[in-house]
Amino acid sequence: MDPVLERVRAANPAAADDFVGAADFAALSRSLAPPPPRRIRRHRWFSVPVVAAAIAALVVLPASAPQASEVLSRAVQAVAVDDGAILHAHSEYSYGDVRGSREVWVQGDVAMRSIDGDGGEEAFRRGAGTVRRSPGGAVTSHPETVLVPTEIFRVRGLLERARDVGLSEQGDAYVLRWRERSGPPHGPTIEMTLWVDKETYAPLRFTDHSWGTAADGKPFDQTYSEQIVEFERLPDTAENRKLLELGG
């Protein structure tokens, strides 16, 4: 028995038993009920100062907000899987004219499974490679193919190497924005933006915006955007590992 922890335990100032019977779900339900609908008075136009104030509200943090380093640290922790946990995300993505949805399960760099909105499915396991099932149902094996999870799952590495991360606030989200190191041949500017939930620090949305002049001399401006519909952390159990297998 550890004497230090025992002394702390003995000094416990409150016990759960003190609150048994205090739960009042009806009262909580009333507080959770949506407010009655309000009549919305529509403004036909906004003055420039009103618009400017609205924009400023998106980027100015109140004095009580946490520092960027704290948000950064918690956002990194939210996607950490050092204990073997499985991250699961259901997201909608867009890139140029391409739009789609996908569901992905990732267990570190050990295993990953992805289901696209069109029904196509891929499962990767380190040492075994990738198995694919086309939307039509044909299954093929690709032992040499390594699947790399989308940025949401790699955001820990991205954030850890990021410098000068900017922090702002937008509704229920903190917004982290940083530039990625660029390079030859055409050195585009690459700006990453991550929206994280203010309460859980789980990722809500991610964009990868790059612009500049392409190798052929033509200007380009592209944005990959991923909206997280659901994000959760699953324990490493036999049942959850099945989610990493094709058809799991």
Partner: protein, 165 residues
């Protein structure tokens, strides 16, 4: 993240864990704030609790930690005095063990929380890590350092030989 969609399932979670969450706040905040802080925690849980969470208590403690941090930031912004480690805050009263209260004050907030999650909330290392929002390995190191530091503060000549968790 989608919230839990089944009101009955949420009610079971609320009724199962309400007392534990209230006790969590009673150890760290004024008693008259406990009910409001617990209600705020479950309001967040209603919106954000993952649908398939098998073991929600550590997740609820993590939310409670964020609710408490926001509450303290707002209090600080209003100019409220910081808790006195040896007299004012119930989290620091330690059942009248003044020596422990003084020793605890020498720990960082993270170190205090690591000790409390294990000693007061009775969480395992893995669950305490989830509540603290870090990996189990990180938490084990944090707890070990916190224990050693607390032991030194309590008894400068004490040699810590055991490493629980």
């Amino acid at each position: 993240m989608r919230g839990v969609s089944d009101p009955q399932a949420f009610r079971e979670i609320y009724e199962t864990h309400h007392a534990a969450i209230c006790a969590y706040f009673a150890r760290r905040a004024a008693r008259d704030e406990v009910e409001d802080l617990a209600a705020e925690t479950f309001a967040v849980a209603w919106r954000k609790l993952p649908r398939r969470l098998e073991h929600p208590l550590p997740w609820l403690y993590a939310v409670a930690g964020n609710v408490l941090a926001n509450h303290r930031r707002k209090a600080a912004r209003r100019g409220a005095l910081a808790p006195d480690p040896a007299s004012g805050d119930p989290a620091e009263l330690f059942g009248g063990d003044r020596g422990l209260a003084v020793a605890f004050a020498a720990l960082s907030a993270r170190e205090r929380e690591a000790i409390c999650l294990v000693a007061w909330e009775g969480l395992s290392g893995a669950d305490a890590a989830r509540a603290a929002g870090c990996s189990a390995a990180t938490f084990a190191v944090r707890l070990s350092r916190a224990r050693k530091k607390l032991a030194r503060e309590l008894e400068p000549d004490l040699v810590v030989v055991s490493e629980p968790i």
